[in-house]
């Protein structure tokens, strides 16, 4: 199988975190499938094409084993390929259309989440957000345009400083933003009315896996009786958690925290860099998706509604992941 260079580039960019953020990863995955279909140069029979696409799908899924948006985007496109019939040109069209539709829906989802979430923001609100989430920024900027937001606290979000990206986006939208170090979350919490964060993955019990630090922001909010909203597209919900799979937390390299020189000068110090943590559902007031606001405990509803196909596949195989190449034999 010849993998097109552009697909390899996208895979590499996802792996190295040059493409990051669940939404961007998902759209990049769909884009990669589309490019693969467009640049397919193998034998012109239907079977070879299906096999090639299945291999590409598995390759893309393997780039970031912990990002749920990635397999969900691939499921979305591959489900449509697996259930359609036709010659190679028709199948190619199916993949391209499905990928385009996923990308469009994902972009629309951000806008819808913004509109739905903004309704939950009270007048004269101070909002705190952690890390950078396109969906959370959408909620905040939409609420700001409705005149409801007076100030936003954005955490720096070590080690990668994604809070600086959030700050940039919010400032561009005219929203008054103040950056705080991650350690100052409890210090400012008594001034805050709502916490709005994104999600990397949502488990079937409503637990939210998001950037490291989110769970302690939610805890500090809970202590101060500040409401916590999680803005998340439906492709963030993890089908494999329904069959009991744990969401793996990726340990990232220590160089993200301190420079290599420092690490080498301190061989006795181990640097631990988990990239996500788990916020329990009891600290979350609502999850805002493009199909509506749900209490976190109702996450299973979204999974059944949106991921039914993947769910049944996973349950059938008692597996945590779908390997598309294996599904070909059926």
């Amino acid at each position: 199988m010849k993998v097109p260079n552009k697909v390899l580039e996208i895979a590499k960019a996802i792996r190295s975190m040059r493409i990051r953020g669940a939404g961007r990863i998902a759209r990049a995955a769909a884009e990669a499938l589309k490019i693969a279909a467009l640049e397919y140069s193998g034998p012109l029979d239907e079977k070879s094409f299906r096999k090639y696409m299945a291999q590409i799908a598995d390759l893309i899924i393997s780039t970031r084993p912990t990002a749920v948006s990635l397999p969900n985007a691939v499921y979305y496109v591959m489900y449509r390929l697996m259930t359609s019939q036709g010659d190679i040109n028709e199948l190619r069209e199916t993949v391209i259309n499905a990928a385009d539709r996923f990308i469009q829906e994902s972009i629309d989802a951000v806008r819808k989440i913004g509109e739905i979430g903004a309704r939950r923001i009270k007048n004269n609100s101070v909002i705190l957000t952690h890390c950078h989430s396109t969906a959370a920024v959408s909620v905040i900027t939409t609420a700001y345009r409705m005149g409801r937001v007076v100030k936003v606290y954005s955490t720096e979000t070590r080690p990668f400083f994604q809070g600086r990206i959030t700050t940039r986006y919010l400032l561009e939208a005219g929203v008054p933003v103040v950056q705080i170090p991650d350690s100052a979350v409890r210090y400012v919490m008594h001034e805050v009315d709502h916490v709005v964060v994104g999600a990397d993955t949502i488990a079937s019990n409503g637990a939210v896996v998001n950037k490291i630090g989110t769970s302690q922001v939610a805890l500090a909010a809970h202590e101060a009786r500040v409401r916590v909203f999680v803005a998340a597209e439906t492709y963030k919900f993890s089908p494999s958690t329904v069959i009991g799979e744990l969401v793996p937390i990726e340990m990232r390299p220590p160089e993200e925290i301190v420079p290599r020189e420092w690490i080498e000068a301190h061989p006795g110090i181990e640097i631990l860099n988990p990239s996500f943590d788990v916020t329990p559902p009891e600290y979350i007031d609502a999850i805002i998706t493009e199909i509506g606001v749900i209490p976190p405990q109702a996450a299973i509803l979204v999974l059944l509604d949106r991921m039914g196909w993947a769910l049944s596949k996973l349950k059938q195989g008692e597996i945590g992941k779908i390997f598309f190449e294996e599904t070909l034999e059926e």
């Binding site: 400032l171 350690s183 210090y187 631990l272």
Partner: protein
Amino acid sequence: MRIEYLRKLGFNLMDSNTEYTLKIINYARKEFANIDNYKSLFRLYENIVSKVSRERPASAQTINMLHDLGKIIINNISENRSIKITHERIIASLDLWERRIIEDCNEAARIASRRLVDGDVILTHSRSTCVLKAIEYAKKENKKLTFYVTESRPGMEGLVTAEKINSIGYPVKLIVDSAVRYFMKDIDKVLVGAEAVAVNGAVISKVGTSLISLIANEARVRVFVVAPISKFNIETLFGELVELPESDWRRLMSPDVLASLPENYIARVPIYDVTPPQYVDGIATERGLFAPQAIPVVLKDVYGKWPPEVLELEELVKKIKEIIGDCL
């Protein structure tokens, strides 16, 4: 190169509270040496007070030390002592404070170290002289411990703490401040220092301490504070709030990093926060380990009566000015 890179990240080492007080004592001793009249004595005292309220307004230990100096000045003037005698008494008081700060810190550390037992996994935040001392005592007794250290932004002095604990001979794991809750289930005890302790038992310490204590409390992990009694802020007894200074982007990054951010970028950078007494399990002082709520009892014991007599530092300065004005 290494330091340059760390500066980009906002590495900026502040004195620990104990180091700062000792520094002020040395500074005062040097400056007081040239004093030969009450007027310049007062001016110098006033200068030191304003230097401290500018640099470390929350440092109870330094403020308490300045209280003592102020009282010596007032008493000596009202007793018509010569400047020479007042001068001698001030120097003697500074010497005593210096000794006391070191001894009390050591004793509080020794008491705190007894709470650490074989197999404990300890989390510490920021950089505290007395906490590091406690770890040294634990090592002397050959206790088997493991440490988690937060990088402790703003300032990132956690890097230096990690280095120091490792050089004492313990394994250290360094984490970002945001990862505290992720690791709390692996932690047995939290051990931190203090900038000041209010009379209600609230602990003023490096920003982030209150969040860590909240997280520890959620996970039923015990929180111990090492703080000699000289760090107790008596002024809070009369409702004074401890003034908590804040900084800006300068404590988060170097100017070239700021230049890469939007023009209207604003950062609010608190240096300390307040941990409520209900999240603190014990305060280790030179007089023993006790519950934060028991501070009034300890203070009664220390000062001989309750409530102890205190003037706010500003009032004290005013009063000295008045009586010096009278006798000039």
